[in-house]
């Protein structure tokens, strides 16, 4: 399996994602600079790391949306191949309209870096097969805009389609709607999440609860993603 780490200017944690693939599923992985996104077709999955794309100017993820690379990303997602966006990568997926909802500043108005208890709400996705339903994970978060927002209608839809994949299992400190920590698109081939599984793949750096997410992706190889 061949992974692309798609890097928009200002996405700083491309390295973390790259290492997570090397560390967990040991597959081919390449950095793809945003101006080279026309090559995405040759990859099996696209990973959008966290960071501060375009300095978070205007809104987190908003400027990446107008980049030509975003069109390529949209086309890739529509092809049914897997896309994972974490942190600022999740912001970009939302701004690009690939995932529903929006983001507000954290409730305490500050950047917050901490370990969070995250509950697996749906283990029947390409990203969560190797978890058990209701499993409690410990994953790091590091963001200033982790407060996911969706209106009632969107929440209804997310719920009825089983698109809510992760919620905060202990405290919903940043104030996300329905304590949402991660969602997929309707088709289930795109996952956006605020917790950072790529930072939880080795005991020495604080845990391994993110490993199963990358293994799930591997174990979903070749499946069609239709709802």
């Amino acid at each position: 399996m061949k992974f692309a780490v798609l890097v928009f200017p200002g996405l700083t944690c491309d390295l973390d994602m790259y290492h997570a693939i090397e560390e967990t599923v040991k597959q081919d992985v390449e950095y793809v600079w945003h101006t080279e996104a026309d090559q995405l077709d040759s990859f099996d999955a696209v990973l959008l790391p966290t960071g501060t794309s375009y300095g978070n100017y205007l809104r987190p993820g908003a400027l990446a949306k107008s980049s030509p690379a975003c069109k390529q990303l949209q086309a890739f997602a529509e092809s049914g191949k897997l896309v994972l966006g974490v942190g600022n990568g999740f912001h970009i997926l939302v701004e690009a309209g690939i995932l529903p909802g929006g983001f507000l500043r954290n409730q305490n108005l500050k950047f917050r870096s901490a370990l969070e208890i995250v509950r697996v709400e749906n283990n029947n996705t390409a990203f969560t097969k190797d978890y058990t339903q209701g499993q409690m994970l410990t994953l790091p978060v590091a963001n200033e805009f982790g407060n996911y927002y969706a209106d009632d209608q969107t929440v209804e839809k997310l719920k009825s389609n089983n698109q809510i994949v992760f919620t905060y299992g202990d405290e919903n400190i940043d104030g996300s709607t329905e304590a949402i920590a991660g969602i997929t698109n309707e088709r289930g081939n795109v996952l956006g999440m605020m917790p950072l599984p790529e930072r939880a793949v080795e005991a020495i750096i604080g845990g391994t609860d993110g490993t199963a997410l990358f293994q799930s992706i591997m174990n979903s190889r070749g499946e069609q993603h239709v709802n």
């Binding site: 200017p9 700083t12 390295l15 973390d16 950047f111 917050r112 590091a142 930072r199 750096i205």
Partner: protein, 743 residues
Amino acid sequence: MSINHEPTAEQIKENRLYLQMGMTDAEYERAVEKLGRIPNYVETGLFSAMWSEHCSYKSSKSVLRRFPTEGARVLQGPGEGAGIVDIGDNQAAVFKMESHNSPSAIEPFIGAATGAGGIIRDVFSMGARPVALVNSLRFGDLTEPRDRFLFEEAVAGIASYGNAMGIPTVAGEVQFDQCYSKRPLVNAMAVGLLNHEDIQKGVAAGIGNTVIYAGATTGRDGIHGATMSSSELSIEEEQELPVMQAGDPFIEKLLMEACLELVQSDALIGIQDMGAAGLTSSAAEMASKAGYGVELNLDLVPQREENMTAYEMMLSESQERMLIVVKKGREEEVIALFTKYGITAATIGHVTDDKMLRLLHKGEVAAEVSADLLAEDAPSYQKESKEPASFAKNQAIENKEPQVTNLKETLLDLLQRPTIASKEWVYNQFDTGARTNTVLAPGASAGVIRVRGTNKGIAMTADCNSRFIYLDPEVGGKIAVAEAARNLVCSGAEPIALTDCLNFGSPDKPEVFWQLEKSADGISEACRKLNAPVIGGNVSLSNEVNGVPIYPTPTIGLVGIVHDLGQVTTPGFKQAGDAIYLIGQTETEFGGSELQQMIEGKIFGKSPAIDLDIEATRQQQLLGAIQAGIIQSADDLSEGGFAVALCEGTFGSPGLGADVTVEGSAITALFSETQSRFLVTVQADQVAAFEEKVQDAVKIGTVTDGEEIVIKDAEGTVLVEGTVEEFQTAWKGAIACLLNSED
């Protein structure tokens, strides 16, 4: 055209306009004499910036020479952007600490953010990838709204820059004292890694080679920042301060990636950050260091604003800019490299053989001064030094215990002192895990990051107890280094080298200069005994508000090696049944202690004593025991003394408590701040091996599974008894509570 309104050389001389730029009469005369003519407006600006304390260390040079700067591991000592030490396997650690105190006193968010940005540039300008950040902060005691504002904004500012750069903040310290009220200290340290062959220097060498400007455009921000930061801040002056330079970490991230790619190219000759005094200092220093000259055409400098004068361009401190010298003929590929990252780069000049810094602007020579004269020939002052009357007075005071009636209440009060309380409110705002190498994050004794591809780690810490230095600068200087080293040793690291930030009051006050000299002596002696040379640093003088200096605060940033990541140790207790040991005798030493400040509202008397031979022996023995794998947890005893350290051992270790018996007077045993002491826990079956290795260790109790803390005296009388939860609640929420208080 504003250039026409600039005063002539004659007017500057006649009306002594150089005084406004921070130059004294004697300095101006020195410049005239060395130059052989009277300098024009631009040239006077160049002299004033390059001969400021910030750039020339004219008042502190004599003191800085006292520091030991050599050692087997030192690859680059003081003088470049950052120091470099060998860490084995052809790799090196690059680091430096720098102050951004004056800007942070005025615009705390921007000031602190640009402080972080500047030190990161210093590290990548050496060719190193910045891998970790550390900070050391000082504020008033948070009782005043202005100090709460400065604290909140400065922390957010540092966080905003480091987080957006994707560089984890892994260690730091914050202390609070009214001596820093309205005059905070913001000291930021960056640590980078590189392979030996990638070491770069800021040199402009090779006649005809090309000078390239890369990074953000030049605006009118921060003009004369170097001069401003070398002067005292009076409250009235705030209205007339120059426009502060603002930072943009987004640009810096792209600039960093481009520069680190450029380092791999053989087109590169030299590279330097445009820090304090911007284009002036980088051009003059690069030429002077290389023994060449530089000619710049200022019309080619990328400019943010219209009609900028030569003076403004040369003295701007716009952020995120680098000056680069590349081989002639390779300009296009270098500019293309920057363009790929969306960074502006332009050829602005070339290297000459005449050792002059020559500036062309609009077809005329705007300035022409010897680069050495600017960079090397600043005056050097041997300032007057005088022991303050308070020193002898304090030395004459007998050591005495403060009056304490309720030991438990006192302990709870101490745990809520902002200097002692949990700093979670601060470090939760820092991205501590970016780059996925953080083994120990803030909250431990030191930060540790692993060196990928090896089983080694780099440990780092910042420390300085300025109260001890105020009472006795020489002893306090020793303590600052020793305590930083204790932090590293307790984490399982061997200290290897340090950087310092000398934050003091005005050097024109003989008493302040005496503090500077004495503390440098103390630091130097501790560096020699503990085998950690000084490889770089920074001086920040004139930290005063309305004529009152801060406590002398020479912050120490210490770096060490963890030889095997399996040896990384934390302060938290590990399992019930482990033996608790106290290493080191406790004396009645309360001068400058947190308890004294809390009860008396001031500090007085003698600083705790320190014997560096005992310190070194204990550190070696403890590190040996940690490396032998017979220690469960380790912590040094610092502010608040033994009782605070004991409580901290139980925090973060759910289900555990402690039952200990202390000797001697209870107040001393619990709260004295005697130096060179450690609290460690050892598994029951390792007790004999431990006692053999560590001589001054006394078993005082046991880790229990009750979530209770019990401290008894030798007769079995209970001195303190309480649940871990009540102590932890007091400690954990104190800072947030202080910030939410109204007045």
